[in-house]
């Protein structure tokens, strides 16, 4: 039986502490603090301009914070301040223990090289040097994200939008990351394709015990994927809690407005 109360799971993986970012006098993100535990899915919801994408960039070390800090528990068990990591370390972290799924797959994939190489790149980056094994791993991952292995040598520009997004996910997961950032992963997709992707993500996240920070404006996505929700408005976290609690029993006026704005299915 999987024990979620073990010590390992009891230590946070990612800690944001008083995180702020301002552009001149405009505060894009104000004083955000939270802890993310292994296997936990946190959804950041809010409308465009609420600061959720800025927060994602701060958390993933792509943007320097104006105040506060982000720390991450590395694979060796030591929790370290991301800003204090060297660039080499940070980049290594980014392509091994972390994943980043972009809304637009073209941003996260090499569109001109084959699907197999797209998936294999991270393995080669950490020193895999056996073509057969790299290809085997790539095929395995394509299967897991429901891409026909016969398409392994095709470039993603010949793929449909949904396939590209699934390929991007495979490319991110191949090194067994513990934390994956997702920026509106279902944003540009048709509704039916969205459902399939969400279901796939949901299974992978549970199976691999991934910690996820997912930015979305779609509350249905948050409900389906996340354990916890943070509602952002004007760069501030205005409400946070269990996903079903926040969505079924919203307290803040803005959250109530968000929830009541969902069209009935």
């Amino acid at each position: 039986m999987a024990d979620f109360d073990t010590l390992e799971a009891d230590r946070p993986l990612l800690i944001a502490d008083g995180l702020s970012k301002s552009y001149g006098r405009i505060a894009a993100c104000r004083d955000v603090s939270f802890s993310l535990y292994p296997g936990e899915v946190l959804a950041i919801v809010g409308e465009s301009g609420s600061g959720k994408s800025t927060l994602l960039q701060l958390l993933s070390g792509q943007l320097a914070a104006s105040g506060g800090q982000v720390s991450y528990r590395m694979r060796d068990g030591v929790t370290r301040d991301l800003a204090a990591l060297g660039e080499a370390e940070r980049r290594l972290l980014f392509r091994t223990d972390w994943g980043f799924v972009h809304q637009d797959p073209a941003q996260g994939l090499r569109m001109a090289v084959s699907a197999g190489a797209n998936v294999g790149e991270r393995l080669m980056a950490v020193g895999w040097n056996h073509y057969g094994r790299i290809r085997e791993s790539a095929s395995d991952w394509l299967t897991r994200v429901e891409i026909d292995v016969a398409r392994i040598d095709d470039a993603p520009r010949t793929y449909s939008g949904g396939m590209r997004q699934r390929l991007q996910i495979a490319r991110n997961l191949v090194t067994g990351p513990r934390l994956v950032f997702m920026d509106e992963p279902t944003g540009g997709l048709d509704v039916s394709v969205q459902a399939r992707l969400l279901d796939l993500l949901r299974n992978l996240v549970a199976e691999l015990h991934l910690a996820v920070v997912i930015v979305t404006h779609d509350l249905a996505v948050a409900r389906l994927l996340s354990h916890r929700v943070m509602v952002m408005k004007g760069g501030r976290v205005i409400e946070t809690g269990l996903t079903d609690q926040v969505l079924d029993d919203p307290r803040e006026p803005y959250t109530q407005l968000l929830v009541s704005s969902i069209l009935p299915p």
């Binding site: 790149e121 950490v126 040097n129």
Partner: protein, 302 residues
């Protein structure tokens, strides 16, 4: 003889100093691409402006210069560069690999093994081995700085996925001194092993891209590969039609419009030397001997 308007070896002394500083830095960091202020040369980009600037910067009056283009001493490009330096520096020129102290090359390494006291100067069109997959210069520089070379293997992976084997036949990437991945210029991969532990100094000049890099003598140079697809030098499986050499790099020459062809050594000096020593290929004719002896050496302008 030297036109008085020209400084020795065409470039002014300040420019040569600047290039020499870049060369010294390149030698100190084997395989690292050192930026330099490439000058306009009296030839178009792509004709060896980088190599010519490096040669001009290292050439002394006592040097003996050899210039080859795809292994050949007598193509237009090789001859005009040789004449250029004969005219502007008054140095001795040769076609003999053995005799030369400076060899400028486009796309080949001579077959005869090089020795200490020789400098091999490569003309380089695109110095950045990562450019194929990563168009951003800022990013490729960072990748070199952090030795992130996974992308290089992506290129080789693509080859195997597409052709079943590593089909890259020239400009085959190498790792220099276990640190920098380097583009050996578009030499055939047949020549890659010659770069490893070479007694001669190897300098690379890219004029348009404004980069100089180097492999100091006796430096480890390893061709990238996969465990299950190891690096293999490639040559046509035939002896040279003129000198019968079994292990030299061959050019394929189409001899008529009916598909007939012959394979001959790309290194003309090597081929002629062998013929002079009495080796024969399937298509060699007697007159070749005389011709070879007659052309073996030449001192330009005395």
């Amino acid at each position: 003889m030297n036109a008085p308007a020209y400084n020795f070896a065409y470039l002014d002394e300040q420019t040569k100093r600047m290039i020499r500083r870049a060369i010294l830095k390149a030698i100190a960091i084997p395989g690292y691409q050192v930026p330099f202020a490439s000058r306009e040369m009296p030839m178009p980009y792509g004709w060896g402006t980088g190599g010519v600037q490096v040669t001009a910067a290292i050439l002394g009056p006592q040097d003996v210069l050899k210039v080859i283009d795809q292994g050949s001493d007598d193509t237009t490009n090789a001859i005009s560069i040789r004449k250029f330096f004969a005219k502007t520096a008054g140095v001795a020129t040769t076609t003999s690999t053995e005799e030369a102290t400076v060899i400028q090359t486009r796309h080949r390494i001579p077959e005869a093994s090089l020795h200490a006291n020789q400098v091999l100067v490569y003309q380089v069109p695109i110095p950045e081995p990562l450019r194929f997959l990563e168009p951003r210069e800022t990013e490729t520089r960072r990748m070199h700085a952090l030795a992130e070379y996974g992308l290089m293997h992506v290129k080789l992976y693509e080859d195997i996925a597409r052709f079943g084997h590593i089909a890259t036949a020239y400009a085959y990437p190498v790792k220099v001194n276990a640190r920098y991945v380097m583009d050996p210029s578009p030499t055939p991969k047949f020549d890659n092993p010659k770069m490893d532990n070479c007694p001669a100094l190897q300098l690379f000049g890219a004029g348009r891209e404004k980069r100089i890099y180097a492999i100091p003598p006796h430096t480890k140079v390893v061709s990238l590969d996969f465990e299950d697809h190891p690096f293999e030098p490639y040559r046509f499986n035939a002896p040279c039609a003129l000198c019968g050499a079994e292990n030299s790099y061959l050019d394929e020459i189409v001899t008529d419009d009916k598909g007939s062809r012959m394979f001959v050594c790309s290194d003309t000096d090597y081929c002629e030397g062998r013929q002079a020593a009495g080796h024969h290929g399937a298509l060699s004719a007697a007159p070749y001997k005389d011709k070879a002896q007659g052309k073996a050496r030449e001192k330009a302008n005395g």
